[in-house]
């Protein structure tokens, strides 16, 4: 579904990604792990089109999209829940969700809204209050739910567990698995590598802007080098 080939990206003159390649197939969870500053967020932003690339190709459903503007990529079915709970603070929770469907004003909107509330009932309770008055965990749920409102084919999740209590981490990762079970394709970026690989089908390891490992999630989890370097085991 998604193919990234030889992708490079830079902030000004500082290169961040060096010819990175990865693929995500229909219906799988792919985990992208690596330490802080490895370029994981940059890669997701480049796929979404909010960070320019300096080389390489991005194919989505076989068509090249690397020069498409960000809003058109959302229209194609790529939605992202960005790192750091980037919600629309002054707007209500429900307005945040409705804006998630900005490119998909169709008959399914009401149903997706109901699904979002069913997945995170606390959001229904707080639907009328400004998003900035939610707790960190609730804002994270809102960011994920907002991305789902676009009914994406491919969901990009950037650090969904960052800074959350362990119980909430489990709740969010369970939600990710249930999305995959319903047929969604997910590219998951996590610093918490063991948690991400535990629910993923395949994994990639990014290190200072280069892909250094890839493979089935289970074999990455069992790899002694991985265990020492990333999993803290």
């Amino acid at each position: 579904m998604l193919t990234v080939e030889g992708l490079s990206s830079a902030y000004g003159r500082i290169a961040v990604l060096h010819e990175v390649s990865l693929t995500v197939a229909q219906g799988e969870i792919v985990a992208l792990v690596g330490s802080n500053g490895a370029g994981k967020t940059t890669l997701l932003r480049t796929i979404s089109g909010v960070q320019p690339l300096t080389g390489g190709r991005i194919l989505f459903d076989g068509a090249r999209i690397e020069h498409m503007p960000a809003h058109a990529r959302v229209g194609l079915g790529i939605a992202q829940s960005p790192e750091g709970r980037q919600v629309f603070g002054p707007l209500s929770v429900e307005d945040n969700l409705r804006l998630g469907a900005f490119r998909r004003q169709d008959a399914g909107l009401a149903e997706r809204l109901a699904q979002a509330y069913a997945m995170f009932p606390i959001l229904r309770e707080k639907r009328a209050i400004p998003a900035m008055s939610l707790s960190g965990g609730q804002q994270q749920m809102l960011a994920i739910a907002r991305a789902l409102m676009a009914a994406p084919k491919l969901l990009l999740l950037d650090e969904p567990s960052l800074g959350l209590a362990p119980l909430l981490v489990d709740q969010i990762l369970n939600a990710v698995v249930s999305l995959r079970d319903r047929g969604m394709t997910i590219l998951l970026v996590e610093q918490n590598a063991s948690a991400a690989l535990a629910i993923a089908d395949r994994g990639y390891v990014l290190e200072t802007g280069r892909m250094v490992h890839q493979g089935a999630a289970q074999s990455l989890l069992a790899d002694p080098r991985m265990r020492a370097a990333y999993l803290g085991l």
Binding site: S48, G49, V50, P69, A70, H71, V74, G75, A79, Q80, P82, Q86, V87, F88, G89, P90, L91, D95, R98, L99, G100, F102, R103, Q105, M132, S133, G136, Q139, R146, A147, A150
Partner: protein, 290 residues
Amino acid sequence: MAEFLQLLFSGLTVGAVYALVALGFTLIYNASDVINFAQGDFVMIGGMGTVFLAAAGLSLPLAAFIAILAAVAAGLLLHRLAIEPARGASPVALIMITIGASIFIKGVAQIVFDKQFHSLPAFTGSDPIALGGATILPQSLWVVGGAIVLFIALYLFLERTLLGKAVLATAANRLAARLVGINVKVILALAFGVSAAIGAIAGVLVTPITLTRYDIGTLFALKGFAAAMVGGMGHPLGAVVGGILIGLMEAFGAGYISSTYKDGVAFLAILLVLFFMPRGLFGGGSVERV
């Protein structure tokens, strides 16, 4: 009492115009962080455009409509040719660009129009209406009524339509707005277009009272900027309250102290606000969760 009422009416009338200009500042500032000092020139385009089109034989409503469209076109061009190419520049650089644009618009207006003062006939007669010992011009009612209609229309647009919410979302978090599929460029152009329309409508409404000339925009921009600062830059309600406050202070200052210092009142208000509550009346403490 009669004098007080008289000053109150005139303060409210001019305050409504300042509030509209301040609202234009607010809309553009929210969507793009740009403080657009060409905002006053939209007022001029609305007034002068209507005067010259009406003189060319068009009916007043049609002339006003075309003049407002011309201002919208100027706003869109300002965004496309001056602001968009400089995206990512510092706020000070962007402010200088808008000041440059303002000078440019005045230069063009001198050539297209002329350097004389002009006026428009009042929309519905000019017989003053007596009220509590004071009088009020019918045109003042047009100004205040028009301002109220515009406020309500803008409020409904921002709060009740998806496109309006997209403007608010872009103001709140541009990255997130792009990630949900909002075309931020279009939203910014929309903010410039709508601000220009608001300014031009204010210009059409107020020209029968205050006269207009190619360089009238500077004063409106400064007063509107003062109003937006007093209310708290970026707050629509603050812009309205700030505009009316500045208008009332000017009228009462001119009536009870001296009309010589009328134009100084707005700047005194800015200084006081910056000294004592730099976020403005509605700015509050900008608390953000991290």
